[in-house]
Amino acid sequence: MTKRDLILSQIIGGSLNTIADEMSATVTRTARSPVFNEAHDFTTAIFEFDGQKSRLVAQSPGCTLHLYAVVMAVDRAIEAFKYDLQPGDVILASDPYDGGTHIPDLVVIAPVFHDRKPVLFPAVRAHMGDVGGPVAGGYNPHARDIWQDGLVMPPLKIVSRGERRRDAFDLIVGNNRLAHWVQGDLESMIGACGLASRRIGELLDRYTLPVVRKALQSNIDYAEKRVRAEIASWPDGEFSAETFVDHDYAGGRDIRIACKAIVKGSDLTLDFTGTAPQVQGFINSPIANTLSFVFLAVAGCCDEDIPINEGYMAPVKVIAPEGTVVNPRRPAPVGNCTCVSGAEIAEVVLLAIGGLAPQRVGVNCHKNPLAFSFGNYADGRMWVQLNFLGFTGGAGAAYGTDGWGLYAPLMTGVTTPSIEMTEIQYPSRIVKHEYIPDRTGPGYWRGAPGLETVVEHLTETRNSVMMDGVRNTSRGYAGGGDGGANRVLLRDDEESAVEVPEAAFQHRLPPRGRLETIRGGGGGWGDALDRPAERVREDVRDGYVSREGALRDYGVVLDEQGALVSDATKRERERRRATGT
């Protein structure tokens, strides 16, 4: 490949990424639901199709956990309409057992034709505020089958040859409690795909299809080469790890997710054999979800400048036995897979890789205390709030850095909704949103601090809470301590509050009732006794760690004014090292 070819492949790859970015901006600016326009719980991507299989060729940073889940959805949609795809068609899909993850994440896909054949597919994947079914909001902790999760949407053509297929579109909208949102959200997704189709058409006209394909192949090869180089830098070998999901909300406890990482040259195999059989509750992870979280973990171990495309996962082989939590059979419920089991899948992959390449892992994860509320606006229309502010935090440390920021990296691209917009879009007030001490994993590098969020709903609400990360908190790496536990309280008034043990189902709160979330911090990396004492003192000063916590977790002695007592600290740390306490 000549230098000119390389530059051209960069230009074409960059153009497609820019088109994906423009799709993302379109969705943000035109969607109706705050889940889209404030929280950005969506992602946009472009796929190439060679007549057999689609390949991810471009993406825009969005909610990362959607990214790899789109891949399988696109293939299944193409398969469903193999002999019935026309220019101007738009396909909608969300079937966990047909390339999907959990039902609220809808995918909209549009084929772009060139010389009478579909060659590229822009796609948007986004989380809807509701998907019908038994429970508003799309999360049903009582679900025991997929139909109790919500409306199953196998690939359905909602635009045919450029013309809205009104009956199919209305069928989706009619099965949604938030018709006033979902209609606009779907239109924004369709609009984004339409815009991308035009841009891609211009790109093909300018460069021709063969040149574009060659450039895309070059980018895919480059990504694969970079990831292979990363894996090859790790020592050959095997390492097994396990994590546990706290519960499945249906009586199951400490559900095992097992993973063995096998590195051989530049190939990585992740084998989930030994994972618990699929469970009754709604934490089962369809294969697309499992692959997506594997991708997130692997991506966390690689340099961030590697382009994300089909080449990224080419060196990675995943073994996920059918009938287990990480690859369940229909009709197991899956509603909370994108949080609960997804978090554990990413974590166990990082722990397994960490056994071989400890300096490349860390910064897990998103064990969310998922709590959503719904109520009605004054005009009677329903609203659903996913309380994103309460999920923020929880990032773990990594080699070279403390855990930081408000979102765990698995949610990168989801933005923390502004408090002002939240208070405009919902009848709610954010009373508190701040770091709290002593709920983070200690380590040479510590996890992000714990976070307390208090949301007061001004009108009567119902609130469902699905706890996670209570017994099995975010794990530390390379000897770092585990993160703190999550807590959620539902408070009727000053005197009356209920702490949610595992789950709350549609708990009714009166006007001015409060949802109080304490988000545990992330896990640490490395031995906490090695953390420079001065940095521990700064943590105390910043309110991330208490004076007592500094002594307990780091062996750092501070006086009552917060000043470092160096000699005492040195003695305490030496004593602990000697005794192994």
């Binding site: 469903a80 309409f81 019935d84 079937d95 019908g132 079914g133 038994p134 025991r144 089958d145 139909w147 109790q148 409306l151 199953v152 949407m153 196998p154 690939p155 359905l156 053509k157 009956d167 199919a168 209305d170 069928l171 009619g174 099965n175 409690r177 009754q280 059979r329 229909r330 009709p331 197991a332 419920p333």
Partner: protein, 492 residues
């Protein structure tokens, strides 16, 4: 006139044949044995030209559902299309009942609509089957099938069918029932084509007009006995754990037309007792003309003789997304009972036609299998207020034989007798494996309408209002079907 009769009879025969085709080719127990369907041929207005039903509740619902479909697909109906709707808020009643409409074209013009309205085995919702006694929203009961085109120009819309089947725990049954329905509609189209070729469009349309006129006159004459009547009445619908629901009615008649005014009735409720305005109309009609229904061809002339008024957002005209699943089992009976009592006034001679009874739907434990068709176990019947036999509102379902229940369905009938009190007692052993159930025993006048009890050894558990309750393998289900007749003509 005779020629008109002959032509209309042929049309009615085509409708009956549609009905027979469904009964003989549908696979689900609900259609083949429960006869939970109705068929009709409609004009474009739409008016019912001829209708066959096995259950009073369908009376206005095919027309209302057809109207919703025709309105939705106005200017977008073509030869070979089959359109479908199954939504309480698009001309429907309870969820999971779909209306299939096949526009029939003759010489390029749209002339008639063969239609079939049928209850499918399962269309998702929280529990398999049609029974969810604690649902507060229609989405908990089943998916809403808003108007969709299943066939376009004769071509199956595979993605729409796939959508319906993926949202069913009984996909195989639903698929085969849909195929039976489509076949019946296609056969009706061919028969209508033959009829119109033989007799000509004008003669067929004239015969329909004559029959509708005839029906209108017959029913008008019948109803005219109440001309000048103005009566007010009320009743309540009782529910477990909540206050009774008030049903208020002013009934008047003029010129052979009955006006039922439900203004003042309870606002819609958060349980599935709500009944849609099209649905309630059917119960009023059947209550008013039950004595003559078997003697008159059911068509638009019959339906025209009734007007109903109700307030939007009330129990008899609820607003989306109120649940409506108990409207047949409970609310319709209360409506019909009230209408009969008011029409009777101080006189006598009108036997009650209502009579709610326990209902149970059984299924394999949720989540245990992908294909989980629900089973409505109904091994007995309430004794009608008229004496022997089931109430009119129980419909024309077939009583399952003990042999079939045992050999095919896995339920051993240990006992099915009239009790000393005149009720029907049935004891059934579950031999189908561990099951779960949704069940309800309707309440009336402070008492349960019969009883349904789970018997496990010495332990007895009433199943008055159950969702997802376990029914272990080998456990007994004891049904007591109520007796509504005051006096019995035998030695009991």
């Amino acid at each position: 006139m005779i020629r008109s009769q002959v032509v209309y009879s042929r049309l009615a025969a085509i409708v009956r044949e549609m009905s027979d085709t469904v009964a003989r080719t549908a696979r689900s127990k609900g259609l083949a044995e429960g006869r939970r369907y109705a068929v009709a041929a409609l004009t474009g207005a739409p008016r019912i030209a001829a209708q066959v039903q096995f259950d009073a509740s369908h009376s206005y619902l095919i027309r209302a559902s057809a109207a919703a479909l025709i309105d939705y697909f106005a200017f977008d109906l073509a030869d070979g299309d089959i359109v479908v709707v199954g939504d309480p808020y698009s001309g429907g009643s309870t969820p999971q009942v779909l209306t299939f409409l096949a526009p029939f074209f003759h010489e390029g013009e749209l002339v008639l609509f063969p239609a079939i309205r049928a209850e499918l085995a399962d269309l998702a919702g929280e529990y398999p089957g049609t029974l969810h006694p604690t649902a507060s929203e229609t989405w908990q009961e089943a998916i809403r099938v808003t108007p969709v085109k299943l066939y376009r120009n004769g071509v199956l819309q595979r993605d729409i069918l796939r959508f319906l089947l993926r949202n069913s725990r009984a996909a195989d049954l639903v698929r085969s029932d849909i195929e039976a329905i489509v076949s019946a509609l296609r056969a009706a189209g061919r028969n209508l084509d033959t009829l119109l070729r033989d007799r000509g469009r004008q003669a067929v349309e004239g015969a329909i007009d004559d029959a509708i006129d005839h029906g209108r006159r017959l029913v008008g004459t019948y109803l005219s006995r109440w001309n000048g009547m103005e009566r007010a009445g009320a009743t309540t619908i009782e529910r477990i754990g909540s206050n009774p629901i008030a049903l208020k009615l002013r009934l008047s008649a003029e010129g052979g037309t009955l006006l039922a005014d439900f203004v003042g009735s309870n606002p819609q409720v958060a349980e599935p007792y709500n009944i849609t305005r099209w649905h309630v109309r059917g119960y009023v009609l059947v209550a008013a003309v039950a004595e003559m229904l078997d003697d008159v061809a059911l068509n638009d002339g019959v339906l025209d003789r009734l007007e109903v008024r109700a307030e939007r957002g009330s129990i008899v005209d609820p607003i989306l997304p109120s649940a409506t699943g108990l409207s047949d089992l409970v609310t319709g009976h209360a409506v019909a009972g009230l209408v009969r009592a008011m029409l009777q006034g101080d006189g006598d001679g009108m036997a009650p036609i209502d009579g709610p009874a326990p209902a149970i739907v059984l299924f394999a434990p949720i989540g245990s299998r992908e294909d989980n068709p629900p089973f409505a176990l109904d091994p007995g019947f309430a004794i009608s207020g008229a004496g022997w036999g089931s109430p009119v509102l129980a419909g024309h379902r077939l009583l399952p034989s003990a042999e079939i229940l045992e050999a095919r369905d896995g339920f051993e009938v240990l006992f099915r007798e009239r009790s000393p009190m005149g009720a029907i007692d049935v004891l059934v052993r579950n031999r189908r494996g561990d099951l779960e159930a949704a069940a309800i025993v309707p309440q009336r006048s402070g008492h349960a309408c019969g009883a349904l009890v789970l018997v496990e050894g010495d332990r007895e558990t009433p199943l008055d209002c159950v969702t997802g309750g376990p029914i272990p393998d080998g456990a007994l289900l004891r049904f007591t079907y109520p007796r509504y007749a005051g006096d019995l003509d035998d030695e009991t």
